[in-house]
Symmetry: C2
């Protein structure tokens, strides 16, 4: 069964895009078929995967609002076998307001994904193994669509002071969606990012998260690493940019841990 | 005349809250009367200024949606003379959806600010010199309210690769607001944050921003500094936490530069 993750946290800059892109690349290396859906109007995931996403390129906005099939939007990621991406263009910035008054506004993405999964299996002779949906830093209708479409939520948590402040709100939103729109949905995974062993604060956040979320918190910590932040400027994931660096090795280990953790823990 | 800044950038984690809080504290030290309005449902600015903002505390949501006067919401910041804050509680998370169908939905904040300015001058015998509005990482109705209320926009820009990706969208939104809702509004200031001289990338972003925005870009760069990220965990601004640190000195210099730059450059 395809594992569908929504990568969400309304706190900004915590590593949602970075985690989506690097986990996807690491899993694709293992031969699994992976789709990344970019649901952030900034299009950072599309950029990091070197996918064209200037205005005019068919994108996830066209799928959500104009009912363009995802099969017309998804592009293969250059130089990375087994990895595909449905990009976001600047058009997506208008989607939240437009979706407010549309019919079935919360379930447009899940319907598009279900159709695409059948298309992918038909075309490539094997199903998608993972889908990662990269969300913007808010809990609006784009993130709601992602939560309705997914079975698991992966929450990146920056090892900084504000990290736990918004978690209550995020959990409440996930509970609301699983009550009313998607009973399968589960906050299954928390990934600690930008861990800087020089600061006491980072260790406090790690201890806090592991104490409050012993089951969901991943063992693998992602270190703060300049190579991770430089990789997108070379249109590469950190695996392609500097494979032996601590950041790349951490995402490879995290992908392996994710694969071993059973769904619906 | 009171200078009203909206601190906005829909890219997450770029230093909006950190810049709001530390610039405000530095200006207050100089004897100026400063108000910070927390418009982010996460309430990070309220936390950093040690302002109570648990559910039930009168907050900016009450002002925007229930017409509670801001004078009932604003609290003095402990241990910091001349600095006040209108906090955000978790209630604010519902505001964007609720505002969609309300009358004068874009101008609720400006009306509340105008009334509060008169109240402040009456009570303290001097007007507010600066108001900073800390925005969430999105361009929804909360940020629109802030753009309608302000005369200047201050955009923090992280010295990282994705920094320039969303700027087009932000400028477009500012132009729309200044066309239709607030002719005074001007993107007057760009502050480069988390500058890490170890990486080539940081210098590239600085050069890029200075080339594209020669007038708006501030000369002062804010360095990446652990002391800045640790300060909120002690309920202090970085000025209170470690005044002589490079981060604190940079915000003091930036506040001074901001004060010298004439409005409407
Ligand atoms: N482990 C890391 N070490 C160093 N830099 C990192 C790390 N992870 C992410 N970054 C950098 O931090 C910034 C924020 O990361 P990213 O954009 O992935 O966060 P995000 O949560 O997707 O942000 P947004 O809320 O805007 O969507 C980026 O410039 C990225 O390159
Ligand atoms: N100059 C700096 N050096 C080191 N850390 C910093 C610096 N500025 C901000 N930070 C840290 O980076 C993180 C993001 O900063 P901050 O929360 O101010 O950004 P923001 O733009 O307000 O985020 P959001 O988009 O969620 O509102 C915080 O943990 C903060 O402490
Ligand atoms: Mg992102
Ligand atoms: Mg903030």
């Amino acid at each position: 069964k395809t594992r569908i993750f929504t990568v969400a946290n309304q706190k900004g800059g915590v590593g949602k895009t970075t985690s989506t892109v690097n986990l996807a690349a690491a899993l694709a290396e293992g031969g699994l078929h992976i789709l990344v859906i970019d649901l952030d109007p900034q299009g950072n995931a599309s950029t990091a995967l070197a996918i064209a996403h200037h205005q005019g390129v068919p994108d996830i906005y066209a799928t959500l609002v104009d009912n363009t099939p995802m099969s017309d939007v998804v592009q293969a990621v250059p130089h990375t076998p087994n990895l595909w991406c449905a990009p976001a263009t600047i058009d997506l910035a208008g989607a939240e307001i437009e979706l407010v008054s549309m019919l079935a506004r919360e379930s447009r993405l899940i319907r598009a994904i279900t159709a695409y999964e059948a298309f992918h299996t038909e075309k490539y002779g094997q199903p998608l193994d993972y889908i990662f949906i990269d969300c913007p830093p808010s809990l609006g209708l784009l993130t709601i669509n992602a939560l309705v479409a997914a079975r698991e939520v992966l929450v990146p948590i920056q090892c900084e002071y504000y990290a736990l402040e918004g978690l209550g709100q995020l959990r409440k939103t996930i509970e609301l969606v699983s009550d009313k729109l998607n009973t399968d949905l589960k906050l299954s995974t928390m990934l600690l990012t930008m861990y800087d062993s020089r600061t006491r604060l980072a260790q406090d956040v790690v201890d806090d998260v592991k104490a409050n979320f012993p089951v969901e918190a991943m063992q693998t910590l992602i270190p703060r690493s300049v190579r991770i932040s430089e990789a997108p400027s070379r249109d590469m994931t950190v695996l392609g940019y500097d494979r032996s660096s601590p950041g790349s090795q951490a995402y490879i280990a995290a992908a392996r841990e994710l694969a071993y953790r059973a769904e619906g823990l």
